[in-house]
Subunit: 243 residues, 2 copies
């Protein structure tokens, strides 16, 4: 029982959420490790959506506006942390959702689909397994033809660097949400939103209408420069924390 007065109440409640996700068979146990990593990086960026993230969100929205077949790839952690908002975003943008797991398990895909459907999600892809992401081995390549395989723009929060690279090699535009600006995923993606998925998705919903001239926004985007901004921010914060 964590008292609401505990200074780290929200953080602890979110951990409980993830833990329950593991117990319900929705989050893979290594998802707890990923969550710890996210916590550390979130602490470093001040647990807030910073300016560099706002700009990346704007560019992500721009991509969704010009996309012909935008897909949102969802794994266990993403579903538990931001499933409701992702369903809203999919409905708003007309994007399809595909449940796609690093540690593929039909059982877990079914549970995640059920969870998203409970949030109002419809026609959730993921069980088809009728296509492969080129260049990846074993189960990690399995995807849906109608979803990830045919996508032109994919939003893959909390993604594995290897798959991010493979998707780019297939000519897709990859948008990720990753608290670690140094991960392979972050460095590889076309647009990296360095923020917590629990803040970023609601922010994408909120900012959606406001993005005009998407082609211009995309043209002006420099992901590397934006990652450097995130790192400079972290560096300055570290310097100030050790006074």
């Amino acid at each position: 029982m964590i008292p609401k007065s505990h200074p780290r109440y929200q953080s602890l409640m979110i951990r409980e959420l993830i833990k329950e996700g593991v117990e319900k068979g929705i989050v893979h146990i290594t998802g707890l490790i990923a969550h710890g990593r996210g916590e550390a990086f979130d602490y470093l960026i001040g647990e807030k959506t910073q300016p560099f993230a706002i700009k990346a969100i704007e560019t992500a929205i721009a991509y969704f506006k010009i996309a012909k077949n935008p897909i949102i790839s969802v794994n266990g952690n993403t579903a538990i942390l931001a499933g409701k908002e992702i369903v809203k975003f999919a409905n708003k943008t007309g994007a399809k959702i595909e449940v796609n797991l690093f540690h593929r398990s039909v059982e877990r895909i079914k549970k995640i689909i059920r969870l998203l459907e409970s949030y109002g999600g419809k026609n959730i892809l993921g069980l088809e397994g009728d296509a492969r992401i080129e260049g990846l081995e074993h189960d990690r390549a399995i995807c849906s033809y109608e979803g990830i395989y045919s996508a032109d723009v994919i939003l893959v929060p909390l993604e594995d660097g290897d798959r991010c690279q493979a998707l780019k090699n297939m000519g897709k535009k990859v948008i990720t949400i990753d608290l670690n600006p140094l991960s392979r995923t972050s460095i590889t993606a076309d647009v990296t939103i360095v923020d917590n998925v629990m803040r970023a998705i609601p922010k994408m919903l909120e900012m959606y209408e406001k993005v005009k001239e998407p082609e211009k926004v995309i043209k002006n985007w420099d992901n590397r420069k934006n990652l450097q901004e995130a790192l400079d921010f972290i560096c300055n914060r570290l310097k100030n924390m050790f006074k």
Copy 2:
């Protein structure tokens, strides 16, 4: 099945190790989150034993050389990640090993002792529970009289800040291995090795003979200055990452 070709193969295999540790009842589930946090900070220091860590390791060795009753405190994560090396180090230095857990469980202590014995460890303390660390509440205070209680120098990798402070209050010299230079443990310890325990312990073994004049090394040690070096390193690395 993680293919050897995956660019993050080693990191992923270590995660599997931790995961198995949980399944074997050796690592506490919160240990998964702690591991993720460590991964984040390891990204920041470049996943390598850096100069500031080498100096801290030298000082840690110096303390072991002059200690009368040096103890190595081991928890689940430490045992899984560096158990073999820790047994070697204990044998080399004559230090005793005590299994001491934040989330105390006699069952888990037994399993960890068995693991360390399988690596050649002998007379591993931890089950005695016949002393208390002053200033701590409940089970978190329980320790062994022959071990932590009577120690003059304690190596406590991956430790809780609260217990680190309590041990210092009892007049002990505390050496820690912590990837986060800003944690309460790091700031509180007498010697903080800002490095991954999987690299640091082998390094301590390797460097052991080379440390001469331990009193001099200890006299010249400034832990805060070393932590500042770690932070400066991180900052310089981040600032130049995408330039």
